[in-house]
Amino acid sequence: MRRPAVAVALGMALIGATAIGAVAAGIGGAPADGEPPTAPSSVAAPPATTAPPVRVGTTTPPVTTTPGTAPSTTATTIAATATTTTIAPIVTHAATIDLLAPVAIAAPVAVQVPALDIDGPVTPTGVNELGELAVPPDARTLVWWQFGPTPGAPGSAVIAGHLNWRGVEGVFSDLADMPVGATFTVTYDDDSQRAFVVRTVELVDKPAVAVDGTFAKDGETVLRLVTCGGEFDSSTRHYRSNVIVTAVPA
């Protein structure tokens, strides 16, 4: 609170140098009740002969902090009641169409996990008609949530794959066996690669992923590999849980 207040006082002093300096100097020279001199007094102290009449008692309460529009005595008011009179600078942002310019990012195209003999292609995906992650009917293809970060970018990237589908072992059928500390590789569409190291392996009840930060767009840089696990519910034809491997850049 103090710093901006001083800044205002100094700003006022610079703009209305003679008048404010005179007032401040007057106060500094006549400490009626033993208080230390106010800040402006040490900044601007022109000769007393240049001081215009000070209209004491006619100032408004300390609400006006506008440089150049306030009566000269207002500056003194600000200095004396510093914490109640500052207006924080207003931050502005570009509002040009450019801020919506498409940004190219390297999308993941494959995941290789040597420890589990996983090597699967990755395709970008969105949601299906139920608002669930759209997973194509191909047990061997992985999907990347294309509206989240790419793996290695800030936030939580998500790559999901089948446990099983139509009688075929899914590409992530062994994901629950992922050793903590194992490293694996993501390949991107610009042919670059990045290594990740497994930090945790969890089994969470559905539909936790909708609310637990699995799809966080910002924050810590993590990659989550997700499949199904736990008990199979034969009435819904779905597993009750998700296996979530959380990894960080190696």
Binding site: G26, I27, A30, V54, V56, G57, P62, T65, T66, P67, G68, T69, T76, T81, T84, I87, T92, H93, A95, T96, I97, L100, A101, P102, V103, V127, G131, E132, L133, V135, F147, A160, N164, R166, G167, E169, G170, S173, D174, A176, D177, P179, V180, R199, T200, V201, E202, L203, V209, A210, V211, F215, T227, G229, G230, R237, H238, Y239, S241, V243
Partner: protein
């Protein structure tokens, strides 16, 4: 004499300080007081080519405000406010380019836009901003016609998303997140009134597109404000149909393996797995 009057002045200031403190204290204590919620307002500068000083109730609050910029949300008390716009650096005594009273309803959440009206004169228009969540994989597009131009159609990838946006009105739609070519034409179609733009409407954003400038002057264009963090996560990840016996050895083995893994990982993960183990069984 001078010093005595200054001393008096100081005493008055001290007294004022006390009064302010007491008033502040009492209002803080009296939480029941029916004080209307302030408005939360973004100020958008859509007057092309004008570097402006914006005054609120006689106070210069936005000095040297560049065109095609917008503020963070500002908390402005509910009620009537006098807004004046002058060229940057103009004396506060100079006749404003625009003087307009703006009424802020209690709790208003929106944008106050300085722009050319349909008649070509500067004006201010307030719009309520819909910042509710958008479905997973989608974004909200809000087109605001704040230009001196005829009624327009707005096309995304050559398809009319809005077939008639009248001057000084807005239109809103939910569109799939992704890249689009945006163009604006007259209601009868034909050549674009402003250069088509390639934009990205990101998942979970509300995109406020302001048509600004003057058709007659050939300055018609766009400004844009994009608000994020309105996303909805996918509702579920379904990746199995139970058609194989995987995980190998059955579910109990999987869970046991996870517990072992967690034990290696450390206590935190172990707690999670044990809890999950209990839940599953």
């Amino acid at each position: 004499m001078a010093s005595s009057s200054i001393g008096q002045f100081r005493s008055w200031l001290v007294a004022l300080g006390v009064v302010v403190a007491v008033v502040g204290g009492s209002s803080a204590v009296d939480a029941q007081a029916p004080e209307p919620a302030p408005g939360t307002i973004r100020v958008v500068h859509g007057l092309r080519g004008l570097v402006a000083d914006i005054y609120l109730d006689g106070t210069l609050v936005l000095p040297t405000f560049q065109p095609e910029r917008a503020t963070d949300p500002l908390s402005i008390p509910a009620g009537d406010h006098l807004v004046e716009i002058r060229s940057a650096g103009a004396a506060s005594t100079e006749t404003p380019l625009l003087t307009q009273t703006v009424t802020v309803p209690a709790g208003f959440q929106g944008s106050l836009v300085a722009h050319l009206g349909a008649d070509g004169n500067p004006t201010l228009t307030a719009y309520a901003d819909d910042l509710t969540a958008v479905p997973a994989g989608e974004s909200r597009l809000v087109v605001r016609h704040t230009a001196a131009a005829e009624d327009v159609a707005v096309l995304l990838n050559q398809q009319a998303t809005f077939d008639d946006v009248e001057a000084e009105t807005e239109a809103s739609s939910i569109v799939g997140a992704g890249p689009y070519e945006v163009s604006v034409t007259g209601l009868a179609g034909g050549a674009p009134l402003a250069a088509p733009q390639n934009v990205q409407y990101a998942d979970g954003t509300a995109n406020f597109m302001y048509l600004i400038g003057s058709q007659a002057d050939g300055t018609l264009g766009w400004a844009a404000v994009s608000i994020g963090n309105l996303q909805t996560a996918p509702a579920m990840i379904q990746t199995g149909d139970g058609s194989t016996t995987s995980p190998p050895g059955g579910h109990a083995t999987t869970i046991a393996l996870i517990a072992v893994t967690a034990a290696i990982a450390g206590a935190g993960a172990l707690v999670v797995s044990r809890r999950r183990l209990a839940t599953v069984r």
